[in-house]
Every structure is written in structure tokens, then in C-alpha cells.
Amino acid sequence: MTDQFEPTIIGFTCNWCSYRASDLAGTARMKYAPNVKLIRLMCSGRLDPTFVLRALSSGADGVMITGCHPGECHYIEQNYKALRRFLLLRRVLNGLGIEPERVKLVWASAAEGARFAAETTAFVEEIRKLGPLNWGKADDGPQATDHDQPSFAHGKEMEVPA
């Protein structure tokens, strides 16, 4: 247990379902892997793919995106948009030479604390198997220029219109 690789993972959660699922996992004192640090968004549809790239390039080994189950979006259907972006994002990662498995999409309703916990632990193990992603870690330091000025404008190909 001592020397194994502990991945750093950023989790994007939707305010209505998956963040509440993680609340529920907490209230129920379910234990899961501590490697995922969460960022709360109002909706998985808010997830800008640059956030994922930013996380991966800043030292994260994986990114977990969680949202409401299809058909259960608080905002009616925005999680479908998240799904489309996720699929596209995996293709982009592939193009960049990064294992697409480093990004995972999980649906978890507010009642699914157990699912949230289990999926988190499972994803940590998957990333552990993939090993560290040394993108952005090598040039750690104040000189790292691109990270200070993220560009939000991105190509149209990142978006699939409804």
C-alpha cells in the first residue's frame, strides 16, 4: 500500500444531483477513495471542455464529470449536452495523445450516494492503473506561462449545436 501511485483527480459535479449524491454519501458515512476533489457547477451542461484540459494540464491525472441521469436533468435536458461534449472531448484527448479513459462521465442522482462512492473508488483505481499523467507537471513553477492566461476562446469544433 505504501508506494503505490495516488492519482490526483478533479471531479465536476452538478449542483442538483451528483453533488447531492456526494452529500448523501457523506451523511451515510460511506467510505471512498480520497483522490477526487470536487468542483460544483450548476449543471453538467456548464462544463466547458477547456476546464477539463486545464485540469489535465495543471497536474490532474484524471477528470470525473458527473451529472443527472439522462431524462432527469434539473434544467430539463442540459446533461445531454454534457454527454455530447464528453464524447467529443474524448476524441480530442485521443488526438492529443492522452488516454481518453482519463475522463469519465458518471450519472448519479441525488439518491445515489452509494453509486457516487463506488464510481469514485472505481475511477481512482482505473487511473491508478493508467499511471501518472505528466502533462504540465514537468514544467512546474512560476515560469509556466500558458496556465496563467487561459484562453477561453476555442474552436467551433468543440461544440456540437443542438
Binding site: 490526483t8 478533479i10 453533488y19 447531492r20 456526494s22 452529500d23 448523501l24 454519501a25 457523506g26 451523511t27 451515510a28 458515512r29 460511506m30 467510505k31 471512498y32 480520497p34 476533489k37 470536487l38 468542483i39 460544483r40 457547477l41 450548476m42 449543471c43 451542461g45 456548464r46 462544463l47 466547458d48 471542455p49 477547456t50 476546464f51 486545464r54 485540469a55 495543471s58 497536474g59 490532474a60 432527469e72 434539473h74 434544467y75 430539463i76 442540459q78 449536452k81 461534449r85 442522482s109 441525488a110 439518491a111 452509494a114 462512492a117 513553477g141 512560476p142 496563467d148 487561459p150 477561453f152 476562446a153 476555442h154 474552436g155 467551433k156 468543440m158 461544440e159 449545436p161 443542438a162
Partner: protein
């Protein structure tokens, strides 16, 4: 400009401090995040206490803090508390960030070093993010003073009456033909053995005639739109085939209707009703409904006996379902429970062995207005049992069925024992795992039943069988169990078995939850906002849950919850307006290229394209703040308040501890 940030780490008693080294987290924040603007970092036993809040308020005033980070529980619990504290001290409430180190750290991890390290990262993320927070103004909207109560059982009736008596209008929607709920089916209520109808009927009548209550029975909610203060609800009023204006409730139609149907709802399958019926004599409203599926006219095209005999011509075979649209400010859900289906415990033989009864069947059997006029008899309708076994915990506290304790079954089992003893003189056995008689005067009732000579056996019954092993068992039901206190297996032959079945969530609870935007627990009950301190509110503002919809409970607790929710509703109504989160998207006109990508993405039709300027515009009144358009805009022209790109990017960096090195000048 440099911000002055205060970081406050909560112990939450030992909830956080037991796993996370809170002092270390606070010291670390002060030391490592100083360059980000952290000027003070404190830890405190309970940040949410008034003393904790005062601590923050004092620092804001004395140190001139411009941003606050509280590392404590989930923002869903106390974000509002700390925002209010900031507001009180003169700081814009949206310049406060919560770092959740309880639900997301201390409660789910065990290793202290790991949990402390994760807490530091979470705090770091919140500090980086809060710098990017912008002062926002609350959006205030007026509250519609009307209230919708869904479910006309005792909890819903109580809730409706409280609000109506305070002078506000209530729509009370009930799926069945009459209000009254399960309580209307009972004969006696524990522990005082009041007649259920005697205490319930006056309340039903009051609700039925109250000038401030619009009663919509035989109706269901089909759509809910809007938000707290401004819900728009669509209700389907199912066709009754009775003209309510003309009907006098005389009952002649029921008398003349030739079609007899087993009544699965009110009589729990133990009695009959007609195809046109009021479920029971004291039904409110007293108009019958016609059961289309069983009506001979609808089936075969002829009959119309009811129409022929109706003295007021109130029968209307052409009536259609009707959709009613109402605006309300608050919604109370009192949708109740379903009885656990005892057939699932196949070793108890319900459905296979005739003289095994469920609790609801027994309620009807013992009810003076029930199918046997209150005579407790076997399924043959005439034989009085000489010995009766009552089995507790059927379907409850059992991982094969429902994990939870159904709360009412012990007292229900004791009530049955008393009634059987009183009415038949039979030998009564009660089989229990643990006798749970908490609450006022409940244990006294247990004492009374003991005194009456009921035989108690501590053991979960293994099986009920008709396979006689020895001659004394022939023709009997044999209850096989371990008498755990005697340490021996026993086989007890009886004439009748009553299963004290548990309660479970309505089978459509999940869909109903979705309809109203609230969640269900793992067991399927509606989830309250806080299990102790906010048991009738939900995570969705303006929606309240009362009675068994929230979890198993008895009549006194259901009534108390009904009243409690009304107090919350009245509180909202009297405030006249409600503050909404100012989380909205706006278009920067200078950057918008007019590509229209965002237009199709909004499910609320909040984005319009202004042809003259060739740019998109977001209507703030319609925007719900999901942020999908923000993420989609290829020009980066749309920004979302509260969850801006800058905030999220900063939080990513903070979580990954990329903010530790002081930035080069």
C-alpha cells in the same frame, strides 16, 4: 488589487476535527495562501453557531475582510447561514465561499493525514475561487399566497386546514374519490383506542367545507413549472361521470348499480363496492365516481341503471378528463405510503393460505363499518378464530425487503392483540424481534396488552405453513419460530395469522419526486433538507414534505408535521417576496458574433436573437442559470454570474495547489 481574505475552519464538534487536523489546515492556509490575500485563518468548534458567526462578522468589520472562506459542511446546508452573516457585517453575501470538508472529506475518509491534505486542497480551491467572486445583488420576486397540498390523508388535511385557517387559499388535491387516506380505513387508533372515524370525520368535513380550501379529489398533478413563490401547476381532474353541481349524494345510483367489484383500495380487497361508488359513507366530497373499467355501460354499451334512477339527472356519461391550471407559491406533499406487499414473504404464505391476513385487511375486518360489521372471523366469513398469531416486522428490518423499521408495526400489533382478545376471547400470540413502544403512553399500552394475557414470543417467525407434522396441527396454520428467550424452536398451531406489514414508499414516489424536483432516499422516501433541524423542508425551496411521504410514522407525528409545514408556508407567504440566487447568464454584446449556437441550447427559451443588432440576448427573468450557453459560446461572449469561467479555472488551480508559489511581480 489585493483582497483581504479570512479563512474559517470548522471543527463541527468532532465531526470534522475527529478526522481532519483542523488546526493544521488553518495554519497552513495562513502560511501558504498568505500571498493570495489570506490575512486571517481561524478554527472554531462550531462555525455555524451564533458565536462562530459573530467571529466572522467581527473580523469583517475589524480587519476589513473583502472575501470569506468557510471550511465546514456542504454548501447545501449552511451556505445561506454564512452569507447572511457576511451581509450582517456589511459584506456582499456572494463574496463568501464554502469549502466542504465534512460531507466530502471527514465523513467519507478515515486516514487523518489523507483527510487533512485533501481539506487543504479544498480550502485552497475555495480561496482561489473566492478572489474571482463578484458582488451580486439578490433578485427578489413576489410570492403567490396560494398553496397546493398534494394528498388528502390526515397529514395533508391538517396542513391544508392550518393554512386555510390563517386566511390563505389552499388547493387540496387527492388522487382517490375521497379525502381521508389510510386513517379512514382504521377502526381504532393506538394507544388510546379512539375510534378513527370519530376523530377524523370532523376534520374531513371541515376541509371539505372550508371557504379557503378548493378540494380537488379524483385528481392528480401532472405538471409543475416555476420556482418558489411562483409555481405553475397543472392538475388532471379525472372524469367522475357525475355532474357535481347536480349530485346531492343521495346514493341511489350505488344502490341500483348491478355491477359488484372487489374493493382493493378502501376495503383492502376484503369487501365489495359497486362500479359507481363512494368509497365509504362519510366520504368527502360525498359525490360518487364511476369506475369506467368496471361499468357495464362502458363495457357493453347498455345498462345506465344509475342514470335511470338518478333523481337529479346528475349522471353524465360524456364527461371528459379536465386539465386545471393553477398558480401557487408553495407546495406541500403529503402523498403517504403503500402497504408492503406481504406476498413477497412467501414463507408466511399470504395469498396461498386463506387465513393469513395483512394488517390492512384486519383493520377492515375489525371495523364496525367493514365487510363483516366488525366481526373478527376467518376467510370463510363465519368461523371465529380460537387462536391468533400476530407477526411483527413483516417486510421491515429485513435486508431481503426493506431495511428500515416501519415504526408503527409494534404498536399496530399490540392494538390487534387487544382487539382480538376483546372481541373473540381467542388466545393471542405476538411474535416480535424487539418491542418498540417509544413515545407517550405507548409502553403503557404494551403493559395493558400483557395484562390481558397476550402471549409474547421473542423471535422472528421463520414460516407459516399448513403442512401438519403432528396430529394436533391438522387443519391449523402452524407458526414455526425460535423462541429466542427459551432457546428452543417452537411450532404453534393457530387458526388465524395477522401480518403486521410494514410501510413503504408509494410505488410512483420516484416519478412524483421528479415532477416536483425533489429527491428520494435510498429507501425511496422523500428526502428532507435536514434530518433533525429541517425535517419538513426539501432541497427545493417552496416544496415541503409531511407525513409518511417523508418516512414511516404514526398519526400524531403525521399531524405534527402537517402543521409544521404550514408554519413554514405561512412564514414564506407573510414575507411577501423571496430572494432568488442571482445566478444568471449574460451576453457581452461586444464579443457576441451572432452565431446563434446558444439559441437552440436553452431549454427555457431565455435566449432570443435580436435581428437588428445581430446578437443574442438573454432574458434574466427566464434564465435559470444552468450555464450551458456559457460553456457553449465559441466567442466566450456569455458569462455566468456565480459560476464564471474565471471562478472555475481559479478553483481548478487552487485544488491542484498551483496557487502556492507567490506570483512573480
Amino acid at each position: 488589487m489585493t483582497e483581504k481574505i479570512g479563512v474559517y475552519v470548522c471543527h463541527c464538534g468532532s465531526n470534522i476535527a475527529g478526522v481532519v487536523d483542523v488546526v493544521d489546515v488553518a495554519n497552513w492556509a495562513a502560511e501558504k495562501l498568505g500571498h493570495q490575500g489570506v490575512v486571517i485563518a481561524r478554527d472554531y468548534k462550531f462555525m455555524c453557531s451564533s458565536l462562530g458567526q459573530e467571529l466572522i462578522e467581527k473580523d469583517i468589520k475589524e480587519l476589513g475582510l473583502t472575501r470569506v472562506v468557510v471550511a465546514a459542511c456542504s454548501p447545501h446546508l449552511h451556505e445561506k447561514t454564512f452569507r447572511t452573516a457576511a451581509k450582517n457585517a456589511g459584506l456582499n453575501p456572494y463574496l463568501v465561499e464554502l469549502a466542504s470538508i465534512r460531507e466530502q472529506v471527514s465523513w467519507v475518509h478515515t486516514d487523518k493525514a489523507v483527510a487533512t491534505a485533501k481539506s487543504k486542497a479544498v480550502v485552497s480551491g475555495a480561496v482561489s475561487r473566492v478572489i474571482e467572486n463578484r458582488a451580486l445583488d439578490e433578485i427578489k420576486v413576489p410570492i403567490n399566497p396560494n398553496t397546493l397540498v398534494v394528498g388528502g390523508g390526515i397529514a395533508g388535511i391538517q396542513s391544508a386546514l392550518e393554512i386555510a385557517n390563517a386566511g390563505f387559499h389552499v388547493y387540496l388535491v387527492e388522487r382517490e374519490p375521497s379525502i381521508g387516506g389510510h386513517m379512514a380505513q382504521f377502526d381504532k387508533t393506538f394507544p388510546t383506542l379512539d375510534c378513527s372515524a370519530c376523530i377524523l370525520t370532523p376534520r374531513m368535513v371541515e376541509a371539505g367545507t372550508h371557504p379557503n380550501i378548493t378540494l380537488l379529489t379524483w385528481s392528480e398533478v401532472v405538471n409543475v413549472a416555476g420556482y418558489v413563490g411562483n409555481f405553475n401547476v397543472t392538475i388532471k381532474k379525472k372524469a367522475r361521470f357525475i355532474n357535481e353541481e347536480l349530485c346531492t349524494g343521495c346514493g341511489i345510483c350505488q344502490e341500483k348499480c348491478p355491477k359488484k367489484v372487489i374493493d382493493d383500495v378502501y376495503e383492502a380487497g376484503l369487501g365489495y363496492r359497486k362500479a359507481v361508488y363512494t368509497p365509504f359513507a362519510q366520504a368527502v366530497p360525498n359525490f360518487p365516481v364511476m369506475d369506467k373499467e368496471n361499468c357495464t355501460y362502458f363495457e357493453k354499451g347498455t345498462c345506465k341503471a344509475c342514470e335511470k334512477f338518478c333523481p337529479t339527472n346528475a349522471i353524465d356519461f360524456n364527461q371528459q378528463d379536465e386539465l386545471i391550471n393553477i398558480d401557487v407559491g408553495n407546495i406541500v406533499l403529503a402523498t403517504g405510503y403503500d402497504l408492503f406487499d406481504a406476498r413477497r414473504v412467501s414463507n408466511y404464505g399470504y395469498g396461498r393460505l386463506p387465513n393469513v391476513f395483512t394488517s390492512l385487511e384486519f383493520e377492515r375486518l375489525s371495523n364496525a363499518a367493514g365487510p363483516t360489521s366488525g366481526n373478527i372471523v376467518l376467510r370463510d366469513g363465519k368461523t371465529t378464530p380460537k387462536s391468533v398469531g400476530i407477526i411483527h416486522c413483516v417486510g421491515s428490518r429485513d435486508r431481503n425487503f426493506n431495511n428500515y423499521c416501519s415504526v408503527i408495526c409494534c404498536m399496530q400489533g399490540l392494538k390487534f392483540a387487544h382487539l382480538v382478545h376483546e372481541r373473540t376471547g381467542a388466545t393471542v400470540y405476538n411474535f416480535y424481534i424487539d418491542m418498540r413502544t417509544a413515545y407517550k403512553a405507548y409502553d403503557e399500552f404494551y403493559q395493558r396488552v400483557l395484562e390481558e394475557g397476550t402471549l409474547f414470543v421473542r423471535g422472528k417467525v421463520a414460516e407459516v405453513t399448513d403442512a401438519a407434522r403432528y396430529s394436533n396441527e391438522r387443519g391449523k396454520l402452524i407458526i414455526q419460530t425460535e423462541d429466542t428467550l427459551a432457546g428452543k424452536q417452537r411450532r404453534i398451531p393457530v387458526d388465524m395469522v395477522i401480518l403486521s406489514s410494514g410501510l413503504q414508499p408509494r410505488k410512483d414516489a420516484k416519478e412524483v419526486g421528479k415532477l416536483f424536483g425533489i429527491s428520494c432516499s435510498m429507501d425511496g422516501w422523500f428526502t428532507e433538507k435536514h434530518p433533525k433541524l429541517d425535517p419538513v423542508s426539501t432541497m427545493t425551496e417552496g416544496i415541503y414534505i409531511v407525513g409518511c411521504a417523508q418516512g414511516p410514522k404514526d398519526i400524531p407525528s403525521s399531524v405534527a408535521q402537517g402543521a409544521a409545514a404550514s408554519a413554514r408556508v405561512l412564514d414564506k407567504i407573510l414575507q411577501k417576496e423571496v430572494a432568488l440566487e442571482p445566478i444568471k447568464a449574460t451576453v457581452d454584446q461586444a464579443k457576441c458574433s451572432g452565431c446563434k449556437i446558444c439559441n437552440g441550447l436553452c431549454p427555457f427559451n431565455a435566449i432570443a436573437f435580436i435581428e437588428d443588432d445581430k446578437i443574442s440576448y438573454i432574458n434574466p427573468a427566464l434564465c435559470q442559470g444552468c450555464g450551458t450557453c456559457v460553456a457553449a459560446c465559441p466567442a466566450g461572449a456569455i458569462s455566468g454570474t456565480g459560476f464564471s469561467n474565471e471562478q472555475i479555472i481559479a478553483q481548478i488551480d487552487g485544488l491542484l495547489l498551483r496557487n502556492l508559489e507567490p506570483a512573480e511581480a
